[in-house]
């Protein structure tokens, strides 16, 4: 009702915890060990801080309850 989007908080490595509406989702990062897309598990994904520092980051998120476990800059070692 308030937003079409989800409403959790994502900690940006540069700007700190920010509302998810500030970010653009950039898709799941699939690695050899990833089991596949759209599974109820913790997945690694790309996010872009659209209304903040305008940098790409990666986050590990439990898609079943939208808990963000950790974030780091994209391109750095996977968290």
């Amino acid at each position: 009702m308030l937003s079409n989007n989800m409403s959790f908080v994502l900690p940006c490595p540069n700007c700190g915890p920010r509302d998810v509406v500030e970010f653009r989702y950039g898709g799941q990062i699939l690695t050899d060990s990833s089991t596949g897309k759209n599974l109820p598990e913790v997945q690694t994904e790309r996010w872009y801080h659209r209304y903040g520092c305008r940098r790409w980051l990666q986050a590990r998120r439990d898609v079943t309850n939208n808990t963000v476990l950790e974030t780091s800059w994209l391109g750095e070692e996977a968290p």
């Binding site: 009702m1 308030l2 937003s3 989800m6 409403s7 959790f8 908080v9 509302d19 998810v20 653009r24 950039g26 790309r46 872009y48 659209r50 305008r54 940098r55 790409w56 939208n66 800059w73 994209l74 391109g75």
Partner: protein, 730 residues
């Protein structure tokens, strides 16, 4: 009578109700002022058009919904009066006091629960006609688009450690102790004054700590993921993100079923107290109290202190448990009857039912306290329901009676969720505030379960009615982007074309002449909206070769090349001309709509591959003009010392040079199929002023006849290019 604690008797106000002028005082609610003027019927019920009066005076029940200044379904019992307000009744014909549609009350036999699922469906053509009739006769207010003001709503984002909902005793205590502990505290109170129950029941006044951020007149309506709270203050949407939310919304007295329990004059004790203590209006003279033993002993004193005579106190479980209780009266309560023998004449029946927690927000959060269902002494309600005669209303919003509930259960809708959907109990404007507990109790009794195994229906936002205009506030914000030459186009009477957020001139009134000018002489096209991205660094070539389909390594400095990029799936996603300014610096153009997406795309792969390159989106920082037409070289030659001869500045070449003293990037690209020069310069006032003078005086003929953005026509028909096909993304 004392003035109410929210009112200011020194400030009289008048407003109009059904064309009649009503006197009120500042701070009063509309309904309180109408009650003081003698009005007892405030609305007509949803289905049977029965008269309804004030019940809760807290904005919980549907009994006082009216049309205020064109806005339908306003809860007038809490809406403050304003000077000159125009208030009308809704859903009554011809008037509130005399509504002919009350005939449906007599036709009840033919309108059982869920009748619209059973009747008028055969033959099939009948239903659409019938549906229209039902929708007209049942329902709430109507939106009159001519009179509804367009609200210019705002949205505000708030962040806090602790957000406390409800400024009553417990909310204030929580706020003060959190503030003392050093937390950032936000306290929401729906009334213009804190205190809650202390205001109408009396008690010590508690002041909020200085450091507490107090939001008065603020109602929380929804609790969302990640502790996001939606609230409304003066038609402004608040989005509150709190680390901790404490719900202190207190409790309320629900309606209990007995015959005629919906008559005007039947009020909750809290309602009577609020009407008197908040707004300074006495609900009646002679009252009967009906309620639980506990509450009665407390309420009797409070009601008497208002100056209302108490005729009788009827406790339940107790005297009322085995006897039929009913209210008597036509348009207002006249007496309360207990069993066949006792009759108490009165003008007010105060319900002193057990307090039920106002826990809608908690339930939305899925953190339902386990005590919720037991908290209201729901067993007491079951004890009272022994009357099968007459109209025992469970749900005031949808006119659902005990009989309807029992019949729905008998028809097989014995699960609380299906019972809700079939009978529409709890589905009206109050969203179950008045009826949820009763419906659960009835369901438990009819199915032989206990209350906790019946469960409750899912709670979802909004907990209180919210105007759609409030929720739409965010969608109203549409940024507009204007090119640096916007005012040039304005002066030339441009017809505008919206390209995403950009305003772009489409033509200046005579597209044919403009096209002709470009084809035969020279024209100027504002191409500032095109994406302009600088890519600089040792890995610039690597990045571009990865994201574009074509090669860049072999592009010489000073040359330009058309480039296409596609997504990971291989779908073409953008195109544009890229130029090489120096070995490690590229200046790329891309389509207007994709400028931001291309920038993010380059950033993504720069970061992913950890390339030593900088990507800079300069779209808004640069102005861009396309000087096009057979005579464009001749015009440009007068302004620059750069050698423009085809040999030294050939097609698809880029040069950095001064044009009329302004440092520019000049690109010879075939934008419209004519000889043309794209001129990019920093978006500085002095640069643009300079160009303006140039185009206006030195090349006045061109300026007047030629300035043209009939770009679409020119691009779709690049007649002189010799191509019989073309691909354009702009």
């Amino acid at each position: 009578m004392m003035p109410g604690c929210l009112t200011d008797p020194a400030m009289p106000i008048t407003f109009s109700f059904e064309g009649q002028s009503i006197a009120a005082v500042q701070g009063q609610s509309i309904a309180a002022a109408l009650y003081a003027s003698g009005r007892r019927i405030f609305s007509r019920s949803f289905k049977y058009h029965r008269p309804r009066g004030l019940f809760c005076v807290a904005g919980d029940c549907p009994n006082c919904l009216m049309q205020v200044d064109g806005r339908p379904n306003v809860r007038t019992c809490i809406e403050p009066v304003r000077e000159g307000q125009i208030v009308c009744s809704q859903h009554a014909w011809p008037s509130l006091n005399f509504d002919l549609l009350r005939i449906f009350d007599k036709l009840e036999r033919f309108l059982p629960v869920g009748f619209y699922y059973k009747h008028f469906h055969k033959p099939r053509w009948l239903w659409p006609i019938f549906e229209r009739v039902v929708r007209r006769l049942a329902g709430l207010g109507r939106i009159d688009l001519r009179s509804v003001p367009i609200l210019d709503n705002e949205v505000e984002y708030l962040h806090t450690d602790i957000c406390i909902i409800g400024g009553g005793a417990s909310g204030l205590a929580a706020a003060n102790s959190a503030a003392k502990a050093g937390a950032d505290v936000l306290l929401l109170e729906r009334l213009p004054k804190v205190g809650g129950r202390l205001l109408w029941e009396g008690g010590p006044s508690i002041e909020p700590d200085q450091s507490v951020r107090l939001l008065l007149n603020t109602v929380a309506f929804g609790l969302y993921e990640g502790n996001l709270l939606g609230a409304v203050q003066h038609e402004r949407l608040l989005k509150i993100r709190a680390k901790q939310i404490i719900v202190c919304t207190g409790s309320r007295q629900p309606l209990v079923p007995f015959h005629n329990n919906d008559l005007p004059g039947v009020m909750s004790c809290d309602g009577v107290l609020r009407l008197a203590k908040l707004y300074g209006v006495l609900a009646g003279r002679r009252a009967v109290l009906l309620g639980s033993q506990n509450e009665l002993s407390l309420r009797e004193k409070q009601i008497r202190e208002l100056g209302i005579e108490i005729v009788a106190c009827i406790p339940y479980p107790g005297a009322a448990e085995h006897q039929i209780v009913q209210a008597r009266g036509n348009k207002h309560i006249e007496a309360v009857c207990v069993g066949p023998a006792q009759e108490y004449l009165c003008d007010l029946l105060c319900l002193a039912t057990e307090q039920m927690p106002a826990n809608e927000l908690l339930l939305q959060a899925g953190r339902s306290p386990t005590s919720v269902l037991a908290a209201g002494g729901a067993a007491g309600i079951v004890g009272l329901i022994n009357s099968q005669i007459g109209k025992n209303f469970v749900c005031l919003c949808e006119d659902v009676t005990v009989k309807d509930i029992n019949q729905a259960i008998a028809e097989g809708f014995d699960d609380i969720e299906t019972l809700k959907r079939y009978s529409t109990v709890t589905m009206g404007p109050c969203q179950g505030k008045m009826c949820s507990q009763t419906a659960i109790a009835l369901c438990a009794r009819a199915t032989g379960q206990d209350i906790s195994s019946v469960g409750r229906t899912t709670s979802r936002p909004p907990a209180v009615p919210v105007e759609l205009a409030v929720l739409a506030a965010e969608r109203r914000h549409h940024p507009v982007r204007r090119t640096p030459m916007h005012h040039w186009h304005l002066e030339a009477n441009a017809q505008w074309l919206d390209a995403g957020q950009w305003k772009r001139p489409e033509s200046y009134g005579d597209p044919n002449a403009e096209v002709r000018a470009v084809r035969t002489r020279v024209g100027l096209i504002d191409v500032s909206t095109l994406g302009k991205i600088e890519v600089r660094g040792p890995d610039a070539v690597t990045l571009l070769e990865k994201v574009y389909l074509n090669q860049w390594a072999d592009l010489c400095v000073g040359k330009a090349r058309y480039g296409v990029m596609c997504t990971e799936e291989g779908v073409v996603f953008d195109d544009g001309v890229g130029t090489r300014l120096d070995p490690q610096c590229f200046w790329l153009t891309c389509t207007t709509g994709n400028a931001e997406a291309v920038f993010q795309w380059l950033e993504l792969w720069r970061t992913t591959w950890r390339l030593n390159v900088m990507v800079d989106n300069q779209t808004s920082a640069f102005a861009a003009m396309n000087l096009a037409g057979p005579r464009s070289r001749e015009v440009l030659a007068r302004l620059t010392t750069l050698d423009l001869s085809p040999a030294s500045f050939p097609y698809m070449a880029v040069r950095q040079a001064e044009v009329n003293g302004v440092p520019c990037r000049l690109l010879r690209a075939g934008f419209v199929g004519e000889l043309s020069y794209e001129i990019h310069c920093a978006r500085l006032a002095r640069n643009l002023a300079c160009f303006r003078l140039v185009w206006k005086h030195n090349v006045s003929y061109v300026w007047r006849r030629g300035i043209s953005s009939s770009a679409k026509i020119l691009m779709l028909y690049p007649t002189h290019s010799g191509l019989d096909w073309s691909v354009w993304c702009v």
